[in-house]
Amino acid sequence: MESHKFAIKFFTQSASAPQPKEFVPVFHHWIQQHLIPNHLLIDVADYAHVPQGPGTVLVSHEAIFSIDQEGGRPGLHYFRRQPFADAHTFDQRLRTAFRATLGACALLENDPAFAGRLKFRTDEILFRIHDRLLAPNTPEVFAQIKPQLQELANKLLAAPVTLEHRGKSEDLMEVIIRSAGSPSVSDLASRLG
């Protein structure tokens, strides 16, 4: 798999999660303090007016972070757009993308602005590849990425994990990672190393 354009989404735990607009000052603060390592943070975009849209967006040179509202299920969405500097294999790229996503989730959970109102679920994770050229949504591509994705998910979640390949051929490659347990994002981050 040559693509680097991975997207990972961790859903929030409850419907009472903060509203997208509440993330605007938080993301600005991240830019001020350079809080995401290995990402050149640039700007914040507010799409709260778009129903089930990207909510609030934090744009970096390497990736787009958003408080995505797709399907009415908010979550932190990480979309990698630039190649990974020091991650050459699919497995390395996966780990780097998960590390960045989990880091952002942990930062949000611990942000005083949300005062414990924000927790991410880990029993269901959305994984996509935004690349119809190199990763069309076909059973063949799923078969190609499944072993390493499964291995990483097993390690992260430390529980039985299932991968569900979803969507139509014209959609993005999409996999839902499900597990019985829901460890904290910091647990996942520590298992990733």
């Binding site: 830019i31 640039i42 089930q52 849209g53 990207p54 744009v59 040179h61 014209e170």
Partner: protein, 752 residues
């Protein structure tokens, strides 16, 4: 090596567009190698709709201090960092697109952007936060479905717009759609539209008294009219020129009260030629056509254009586009079958009041899909494409009010369509009402934005939605349009209530403000522009809107329009109404005034950059040489790939391009076929010893002359092709020297 979109779409894209994209890709490579000057590259990308975006100079004020964004040092234009995300504008002529095209736009938003498709006030689609390196793939995927971004920006003919209900309208004289299409594609890349000092906007309207295509605010506009000539009814246009908004708004002036349809394209070309010749090239603030018209006066401008029209070289290519016009047809996919009205879903009646237009064609309706601030997600765009196919016979158009209309919907199926739109959160009522606030991108993404137009628009929209049921009918009908600065991309001049962003210094702080404009006329093709009544802090603007609308409701005379109401009360009286709101509380009392809507950072105008809308004024010679450079580069790549025939041909083409560029310095309308180029090159440049090296004499010229006379070396070995590729590079160097020599000779003549 990984497969590319170029490989995948080989043979799918029409040849000339594929060549242009290949050439742009080569120019990207050349710029990365420092082989193209940044100004030339900037105008090259701008002419492909690839803009810079806010903070692309590598500086951003984070609310506390200005921070440097540590991009790599390479630039893609003056003060524009290569890696900084940018905006891609995609031209949609007359706003018309098909479900297939909509799906590709959705895919692009999903794969390269932030998942949002944005509809602009000129019927374009914009994608934001795009990386320059992704643009060739984006162009190819668009070109594969018949969309080009060529001339979506830069000093060129921009998107040709038209009324979104043209062809189905009850009051139009005739359908202007095919004329808008013909004009758009005839002038696209036309040699006579390549040397403008500024952009050139064209619009078409089918009606004079509706808002329609907003002809009055365009450089060139046509309103459909019919005349009886020799007993026969003829189609034609009232032609208006020299309109424009911006800091100095001008109403377009009537140039001809009737131009026959067959004269439309040649006349447009003649106007383009006059603009290229007489338009300002150095001072971009005075470079739009409106300043030429103002300076000459409409009668003299008309005389100059007619003279140009009569003497310009024949260009029969317009015929091909004109001949397509009668063949243009838009119709429903199948015969209408009445199935009776199904149950109306909840909310249907309210939505239908504002979002459904009964077409001229009995039994059909046009449905407006209201987009908040012109935005929809990739997923919504894709599903809307499906609905366009299912309900609208594949006919959708963007509107200048930043919405999308679906045409040819069977009336009895409108409730079912509404139910489907509801499922994808696109069944918002209030199209064209005060709730449907229009806004340019402003400080969200635009380098020129001063205040947050989208932030204000979102705020006003939320407030109207919250009290929608309380809004009186006369208030509901009003339009609000907002621009982030005086450049008027939000079209605030032609709105009942308009705003444009500015800033005021209060103590040691800067405070975002909006200038309040009232009484602009949307109908009559943007018939008159509003009056400024004062600059008010951004945070007090919702109160301004409340006061103006409440006064209108309270003091309106029977059936009095908002424009007439403003005129009757007068600017002074209305200014008095809002004067107290101009006062800004001290920072210590209310710090919220010192931030903008939707942005918690302390306000500053320090992030403003140099706008790219004006483009870079690059001479045709620069463009010609850049094209030759990129062809030489491609020839080298082809050679490296072992494609010897193609490499040889490309090297020859490189020399022709450079030679043509030099010939056109002396003869703008010189024929461009190879024989003519070589003949004129020899006569004008070689025989006169302009293209002449003191040591090598005519050797470099002979590379072209010999190749042209004798054809390619039939051996096609790596060595023979390598030789001509090298010769092409030497020829370009010699062409640059010849250009310098020519310039020098002109300067000497000038000094004498």
């Amino acid at each position: 090596m990984a497969v590319t979109w170029k490989d995948k779409l080989q043979g799918v894209i029409r040849d000339d567009w594929a060549r242009e994209i290949d050439s742009f890709e080569a120019q990207i490579a050349l710029r990365k190698n420092g082989k193209i000057e940044e100004r030339v590259f900037a105008e090259t990308r701008l002419r492909r709709g690839t803009y810079g975006q806010r903070y692309d100079n590598g500086q951003r004020h984070d609310g506390v201090a200005s921070q440097k964004l540590p991009y790599q040092p390479l630039t893609k234009g003056p003060d524009t960092m290569w890696d900084a995300p940018g905006m891609q504008r995609i031209k949609i002529p007359f706003g018309g697109f098909t479900p297939t095209q909509m799906r590709v736009l959705a895919d692009l938003a999903e794969e390269y952007s932030d998942n949002i498709c944005h509809v602009t006030t000129r019927q374009d689609i914009q994608l934001h936060y795009i990386h320059i390196e992704d643009t060739p793939s984006i162009f190819r995927r668009l070109a594969a479905v018949g969309i080009t971004t060529r001339e979506a920006c830069g000093n060129s003919v921009r998107n040709v717009t038209a009324c979104p209900i043209a062809g189905v309208c009850n009051t139009e004289t005739f359908d202007v759609t095919p004329y808008a299409k013909a004009t758009a594609f005839y002038l696209l890349g036309h040699p006579d539209t390549q040397d403008f000092g500024r952009k050139f906007k064209i619009a078409f309207s089918g009606c004079k008294h509706e808002a329609c295509g907003l002809v009055s605010l365009h450089d060139l506009g046509g309103i459909a009219v019919k005349r009886t000539i020799d007993g026969k009814e003829k189609r034609g246009f009232e032609i208006y020129v020299g309109g424009g908004l911006g800091a100095v708004p001008h109403q377009a002036k009537l140039m001809f009260d009737f131009v026959a349809e067959e004269d439309l394209l040649p006349l447009s070309r003649a106007i383009g030629r006059v603009f290229a010749k007489l338009g300002e090239k150095k001072n971009r603030q005075k470079a739009r056509l409106k300043f030429v018209v103002q300076k000459l006066g409409i009668e003299e401008f008309k005389r100059v254009v007619v003279e140009e029209w009569q003497k310009m070289p024949e260009d029969p290519s317009w015929r091909k586009f004109f001949d397509e016009i009668p063949r243009y047809e838009e119709k429903p996919r199948e015969q209408i079958v009445s199935i009776g009205l199904p149950n109306k879903p909840e909310g249907y009646d309210k939505w239908a009041q504002t979002n459904v237009y009964r077409q001229r064609q009995a039994g059909f309706a046009t449905v407006t899909v209201t987009l908040p601030l012109g935005d929809l997600t990739a997923d919504q765009m894709r599903k809307l494409a499906d609905l366009t196919h299912k309900f609208a016979s594949d006919h959708a158009r963007t509107t200048v009010e930043q919405n999308i209309v679906l045409r040819w919907v069977k009336e009895e199926q409108v409730p079912a369509l509404y139910a489907e739109l509801k499922k994808i959160n696109l069944a918002q009522p209030g199209a064209g009402t005060i709730v449907d606030v229009v806004s340019c991108p402003g400080t969200d993404t635009c380098k020129l934005g001063i205040a947050s137009s989208r932030g204000l628009a979102g705020e006003l929209r939320s407030r109207f939605l919250a009290k929608e049921n309380e809004l009186s009918e006369e208030v509901r009908k009003l339009h609000i349009k907002i621009s982030g600065c005086f450049n008027s991309c939000g079209q605030h001049h032609v709105s009942d209530i308009g705003f444009y962003g500015n800033s005021r210094n209060i103590g040691n702080y800067q405070v975002p403000h909006f200038q309040v404009m009232i009484g602009g006329k949307w109908h009559d093709n943007a018939g008159s522009y509003g009056l400024a009544i004062g600059s008010i802090p951004s945070k007090a603007i919702p109160t301004v809107v409340n006061r103006l609308t409440e006064k209108y409701v309270a003091e309106r005379q029977t059936e009095e329009s908002f424009q007439n109401f403003c005129t009757r009360l007068g600017k002074k009286s209305l200014k008095t109404l809002i004067d107290d709101l101009a006062k800004v509380p001290p920072h210590s009392a209310d710090a919220s005034f010192y931030t903008d809507w939707g942005d918690p950072r302390e306000f500053t105008i320090g992030d403003m950059g140099v706008g790219e809308c004006a483009g870079e004024v690059i001479s045709l010679v620069d463009f010609g040489f850049t094209a030759a450079d990129s062809e030489a580069f491609e020839a080298q790549l082809l050679l490296d790939d072992g494609k010897l025939h193609e490499a040889e041909e490309m090297a020859y083409k490189t020399m022709l391009t450079a030679a043509k560029t030099l010939v056109q310095l002396q003869w703008q309308d010189a024929p461009t076929d190879a024989d003519s180029v070589v003949r004129e090159f020899k006569t004008r440049l070689v025989d006169t010893k302009l293209f002449w090296d003191p040591y090598h004499a005519g050797q470099f010229a002979n590379y072209l002359l010999n190749r042209h006379a004798e054809g390619p070396d039939a051996r096609y070995t790596k060595d023979t092709v390598h030789k001509i590729v090298e010769e092409a590079n030497l020829f370009i160097d010699a062409a640059h020297k010849a250009h310098a020599k020519y310039q020098q000779s002109l300067n000497l003549l000038g000094n004498n």
